[in-house]
Amino acid sequence: MGFVLLAVPVVAVVLFLLIRSRKLQYAISVSASTIIMIAAALLTRDVMLFGVVEYSALGGVFYIDSLSILVLDIVVIIGLMTSIYSVGYLEEELKHGKLDPGRIRIYYILMYSFIFTMMLALTVKNMGIMWIAIEATTLASTFLVGFYNGKDSIEAAWKYIIICSVGIAIALLGITFLQLSSIDVLKGSQFLDWTALYNKAAALNPSTLRFAFIFIVIGFGTKAGLAPMHTWLPDAHSQAPSPISALLSGVLLNCAMYGIIRTIAIVNRSLGSSVFTGRIMITFGILSILTAAIFILTQKDYKRLLAYSSIEHMGIIAVAIGIFTPLSVFGALLHMINHSFTKSMLFLSSGNILQKYDTKEISKIKGMLKILPVTGTVFLLGLFAIAGTPPFGVFSSEFVILTAIFQKNNFWIGILIAVVLAVIFAGIAHTMFKMFYGTNTSAEITAGEINIPGVIAIVVLFVLITVTGLFIPNPLKELIEKAGNIIIGGQV
């Protein structure tokens, strides 16, 4: 089953290289993501039954436990929605003459390579191969970020690849130190094996491990969008085509955070307490939330605003991981899920808006509710959701996290976060709500939805976030709790 999961994107890329007919490419894309989703569903059932799924191929390198399957499911669901959405989006772009048909083939090849590398990062237990896969995600997505080949896109793509590559290189230094800390404890083939490191964590050298942790947080944090390494994120996420922005924001940031979480599990188990990692994660987290708040207040471009909101939510997840109680880790994982669905839904809707209005500026868009009724409504409710309003998912996970913070007596952190969240809500409301009302004065924008498959995908995601906001189904709750146990490992 795991083999099917990883082999399908590869096969899809090969097929895209061979097939030129557009309709057939759309069909391959949607069927590939459906097959991946089915494989992931079966894997989830296996993991929930057996706890851990391991394959002995390539020296036992593949390893899927509850934490991996949780993040993997997010990848797969959003991948399916995005590929459904892309069909309509690309057709619309062709109609308006913004793309040549040949570019669509490149788009799909890169997108499926991107999805493959992300899934690879989540299914291996060797930290070195995880690193290679995360570096490969940067490489696969650079040309996707610069897809439109305009001045701004090229600049965004350059910043993306340079900053992320340097960050990932620093993470490699951290992984080297990780290996160095285990040099007397592990042998040969067990180097950088996560399960081996986790089991023998008490015997690792603490000061080298501290160095390793700092470098890994800075390195993978660059990829995850933690401030102050976040500078590539607004540019890359706003210049990429909207389905790719959804993938980048909803999925890639999670993969990078996954890498950090795996390391934190080892380090906390070795050091015996979460004070060291907690301080670092909380600092980065609060810095990210504050940076996002400042920049959201003055944004003129709605896609950039959504990108800054991603930075904010990644900051919240970082703070939750820093607090490191079972409740806060539960909240962090739940927040990962909710944020991914909400953010990708928002980016896909923004794609529709961009195609209809042909501008990225907030001030130029008026009367969205009349012109794009379904998308507009979903976008409006989505903005409420991302700012943390009930009854949507993001509210429940933020509530859990804030409860955990106050439970651990970190009053000032909790109050700070609550205040900044309120500020962000005000900022989003103030800037964005003008887009929905009023009448549109430009004559060439006709009312009516475009991209029907995309609208379906958006609505499905919207239903998902409403559901998780109202109640969490038991299997999901168990899965998240098991994943939390892997991270905390029985110590608080």
Binding site: G128, I132, D152, V166, A169, S181, I183, T298
Partner: protein
């Protein structure tokens, strides 16, 4: 043998200083090539030694791969990129060269003080080799932020990767083999993609000055 490795680690650090002191892109590429050749030599020496003692020859394969990729292929690629872009950026750096070199010296001293105050890495000669290698990483980073040309940033990134590889090699006798190979493939694709991006930048912005890329702000 450990004498030769000490000498090589110091020479590699020396080559990074020479890299900093150079003003032209072609010299940067040539100095990078010399540095990669010395790293390959160090890997070769360690590989032969491990072949005698333990019969493993992954370090020798790594040495061969480094020679093929970093000494031969990547400099050739960079020269091709350099030949096809505009040459108009006159003053490539913000501060003048003596200050940059003194900055590199501060980096070495800073690295020495941070590493020597942490146990676990400072055992005898291992200490100085690790200090040299980690300084190489930081000097590569410094080089990257002090240059205005896009190719300078690529060379800086390559020096960072060199430094990380040398640190792994000296401190832990190399990473697991498959991780090393994956690293090289990643590096190769990264350089190819960066080369294509430099072409695109040159095409759109009519110059390779990174400071002109400031449309996206805030």
């Amino acid at each position: 043998m450990s004498d030769y490795l000490d000498v090589l680690s110091v020479l590699i650090l020396l080559s990074s200083f020479i890299l900093m002191a150079n003003k032209r892109t072609k010299s940067h590429i040539r100095t990078f090539r010399i540095q990669a050749a010395m790293i390959a030599l160090a890997a070769g020496i360690m590989g032969i030694d491990s072949l005698y003692k333990e019969g493993r020859f992954d370090l020798l394969v790594v040495c061969a791969v480094i020679t093929a990729i970093k000494v031969i292929y990547i400099p050739r690629l960079l020269k091709k990129v350099d030949a096809n872009v505009e040459y108009k950026v006159e003053k490539d750096f913000f501060l003048n060269i003596p200050i940059l070199i003194i900055g590199c010296c501060f980096i070495v001293v800073f690295t020495y003080f941070s590493i020597s105050t942490s146990e676990g890495i400072n055992t005898g000669t291992l200490n100085m080799r690790v200090v040299n290698s980690v300084s190489l990483i930081l000097i590569g980073l410094f080089f990257m932020i002090s240059r205005k040309k896009a190719i300078g940033q690529i060379v800086g990134f390559l020096v960072i990767e060199n430094g990380i590889f040398v640190t792994a090699m000296f401190a832990t006798q190399g990473m697991p083999f498959i991780v090393d190979m994956g690293m090289f493939i990643d590096l190769l694709s990264a350089v190819m993609i960066l080369g294509i991006m430099v072409f695109k930048i040159n095409e759109k912005f009519k110059s390779v000055d990174i400071n002109k890329l400031k449309n996206l702000r805030g």
